[in-house]
């Protein structure tokens, strides 16, 4: 099979518009606003990365995008249609998502098509292609507990990609991996994205990850969260990690983002947030290093 021939059924990419969305948890005076008047667009065919401090409300937004929860105020539209519940056109890989431990790698990947009764020879061919792409060909008959952490994440990516969603939504998918494995994962993922060209939404707390992957970067405020800034990362693709380290544009984007994140944290800091204090400190150390 040639590299360019991807046996992928053709499905249009989607675009999501988040308009004036607010979400609180808890009753009456105990209520806590997590998302407040949030506005942004996940543009068609682009890789949008959302970055913000831990606990600012990113996963909450993801649950709203997935349709597992509804916003208190505002609306979320997929290609103009309001989102009413979970659906396969928005494939969400949650922060805590895991492979099904009772299925082998291969069966995990094919879970979606089988559940929907859509297994065709093309699907199998695509599964095979993805399995190769994520370097797990030899591991098709292994159960998740027999794979390393990085392999499991790659299998998760393949399990999501095979469904050809109009939009892929990933919540900190590479959390908990060591630095080296993480870098490998970025390349696998960037490659999959570049080949598919479909809309991707990627949530992270890691600035290097964000800069390397993003077409557009949404920088979030602390809780209750809103979009604080949007940065277009106009570094040409395909990108290589080595090039990114030396790219002036990438470094400029990184500094710009860090400055905003830092400022955002300072604000919460002055409001007495311990988390923000830690954040300020951590980022001060990082930018000193950079």
């Amino acid at each position: 099979m040639s590299e360019n021939h991807v046996p992928r059924p053709v499905v249009a990419s989607g675009e999501i518009a988040v308009r004036g969305v607010s979400k609180s948890y808890g009753e009456a005076h105990l209520a806590r606003e997590v998302v407040k008047d949030c506005d942004f667009t996940i543009e068609r065919g682009k890789l949008t990365v959302m970055i913000g401090p831990s606990g600012c409300g990113k996963s909450t937004l993801i649950r709203l995008l997935a349709g597992f929860e509804m916003p208190d105020k505002g609306s979320i539209l997929l290609d103009g249609q309001p989102i009413t519940g979970p659906s396969r056109d928005r494939l969400v890989v949650f922060q805590e998502t895991a492979l099904f431990p009772w299925l082998t790698t291969w069966d995990n990947i094919l879970y979606g098509p089988r559940a929907r009764g859509e297994v065709t020879p093309q699907t199998l061919e695509f599964a095979e292609f993805l399995l190769n792409k994520v370097g797990l060909r030899e591991f098709r008959h292994k159960y998740p507990t027999q794979l390393s952490g990085g392999m499991q994440r790659r299998a998760e990516l393949a399990r999501a990609m095979i469904n050809n969603p109009q939009i892929m939504i990933l919540d900190e998918p590479f959390r908990g991996l060591d630095a080296m494995t993480k870098e490998l994962m970025w390349e696998y993922y960037a490659n999959l994205y570049e080949e598919s060209g479909r809309t991707n939404f990627f949530v992270t707390t890691d600035i290097d990850e964000a800069v390397f992957l993003a077409d557009r970067m949404l920088i979030m405020t602390n809780i209750p969260t809103q979009v604080r800034a949007v940065i277009e990362v106009d570094v040409p693709r395909p990108r290589r990690l080595a090039d990114m380290v030396t790219s002036d544009r990438a470094n400029a984007v990184k500094m710009e983002a860090l400055a905003i994140l830092h400022e955002e944290a300072m604000k919460s800091f002055s409001r007495g947030s311990k988390a923000a204090a830690d954040f300020v400190e951590a980022y001060a150390r990082r930018s000193a290093k950079a």
Binding site: S87, L91, F100, L103, A115, E138, F139, H141
Partner: protein, 448 residues
């Protein structure tokens, strides 16, 4: 390449060195000893070249002292091709790669060095003899190579061997065999034998040697064994009488029916209890009221309810099993991680599919725990239940031998009951292992 001379190395020293390396750190002492037996030591002078890229990849090396510069050739696409190796570092792992007969790197000694070398093929043979440990060693090699050099393609090949080692992927009876081999390697079987000896020894001592007043009516172990093994048993029951086996078969048949009935009703009930909040609110209070009632308290009702005594016996044997199965299944469903359910919905499952493909397999470990308990309590209840029945069964033997003062026969019945009960419970466990191959690694890591 100058062939440096190989010298023997003391096994204890070698084991100490292996233990300080990433791939061999977690290997058991006996296996380390076997690896040590195929190792050699060699010294190099500063400036010596150990090997060049493209040379034959035969040995694996471990640095004991000194420094060695290791440079992967460009074709490998390593992100970090250069590395200075020091004490405890392992290199020359091309010797373990499946499709790589030649060296991938150049290794030059920069400071007089003492290294250990092990022939790759021989090492693989040793590892193949213990697939579980070999598997661990290989995956640690892969981790080490990723960490130190970042070369993904090679990892796949290394894991290729690891896969070959593990050609017996979890399938068939592997989980059970694994459990048994681990059990045999642990002190458990010996402790078990000691425990049994103490028990039987105590029995002999108290009843037949010390003749304690408390045990005056109790038959001694020698009397029981003599009766049990006798072709002409005084009280009419021994391994030579057909009746003995008839009792066993009748009891097994009753327990089997009760067990399967309890499974067929208990598992679905438990699944629905765990799955639907409303159903649980409706049914669970009744369930929890009935569950603690002892079997003996059910006997009169059972006799009134069932005209045929056989049905009454099976009903009584079934009850406790049914409760145990349903309860454990329910707990199994409730313990399933919510994120599996969400993932399944995201991937396009409907409610029925989530139930069949997530809830059912996800609760299997708990279900099988329940089934093991179920089989145990079925035997437990059987003795009570067979008080009702007129004819056969181990419980019946125990009951009637009591009223007819055949004390050795009581003991024979009891021991037989215990042994048969143990075997059936082991069978359930084997069936569970068979259906849950995916738990092999989990078990190997000591989760259970």
């Amino acid at each position: 390449m100058p062939q440096q001379d190989k010298q023997p190395i003391s096994p204890d020293m070698m084991i100490g060195i292996l233990k300080a390396t990433m791939p061999f750190q977690v290997v058991s002492e006996p296996l380390l000893r076997r690896i040590a037996a195929i190792g050699w030591k060699t010294t190099f002078r500063a400036g010596d070249t150990l090997y060049e890229a493209g040379g034959p990849a035969d040995d694996l090396f471990i640095v004991v002292a000194g420094k060695i510069d290791h440079e992967l050739q460009p074709g490998v696409h390593a992100r970090r091709p250069m590395k200075t190796l020091v004490e405890g570092d392992v290199f020359g792992w091309a010797a373990l790669l499946e499709k790589v007969p030649n060296r991938l790197a150049k290794a030059v000694c920069t400071e007089d060095a003492l290294v250990i070398r092990i022939n790759g093929e021989e090492l693989l043979k040793v590892l193949e003899s213990d697939p579980n440990a070999g598997d661990v060693v290989m995956s640690r090699f892969a981790t080490m190579i990723t960490r130190d050099y970042t070369v993904p393609d090679l990892i796949a090949q290394l894991r290729g061997i690891h896969r070959k080692l593990h050609a017996r992927d979890p399938q068939g009876m592997n989980v059970t065999l694994y459990r048994v081999s681990r059990w045999l390697k642990s002190p458990k079987p010996y402790l078990m034998l000691i425990g049994l000896s103490i028990f039987f020894g105590g029995w002999y001592l108290f009843v037949e040697v010390l003749r304690l007043p408390r045990f005056r009516e109790m038959p001694g172990i020698t009397t029981v064994v003599a009766e049990w093994m006798s072709p002409n048993p005084t009280y009419g029951l021994s391994i030579y009488t057909g009746e003995y086996y008839q009792h066993i078969l009748v009891s097994i048949w009753r327990v089997t029916q009760a067990f399967f009935l309890a499974t067929a009703l208990g598992v679905p009930l438990g699944l629905f209890l765990g799955w639907s909040r409303k159903f649980k609110d409706l049914v669970f209070p009744v369930f929890e009221t009935l569950r603690p009632i002892p079997i003996l308290a059910w006997v009169p009702i059972a006799i009134v309810m069932f005209v045929a005594t056989e049905s009454a016996v099976i009903f009584l044997t079934f009850l406790a099993s049914f409760f145990a199965t349903a309860l454990n299944t329910m707990l199994g469903v409730e313990s399933i991680d919510e994120s599996y359910v969400r993932a399944a919905y995201c991937l396009g499952s409907n409610e029925r599919q989530v139930f069949l493909h997530v809830i059912v397999p996800g609760s299997l470990p708990f279900i099988f725990t329940g089934l093991q308990i179920s089989v145990g309590v079925a035997w437990f209840s059987l003795v009570a239940a067979e008080m009702v029945s007129g004819q056969y069964g181990l419980g019946y033997v125990i009951n009637t031998s009591y009223t007819t003062v055949k004390y050795p026969t009581i003991i024979i019945g009891m021991i037989t009951l215990g042994a048969v009960g143990y075997v059936t419970s082991a069978m359930v466990r084997v069936a569970g292992d068979y259906m849950m191959q995916w738990r092999l690694r989990e078990l190997a890591m000591g989760a259970n």
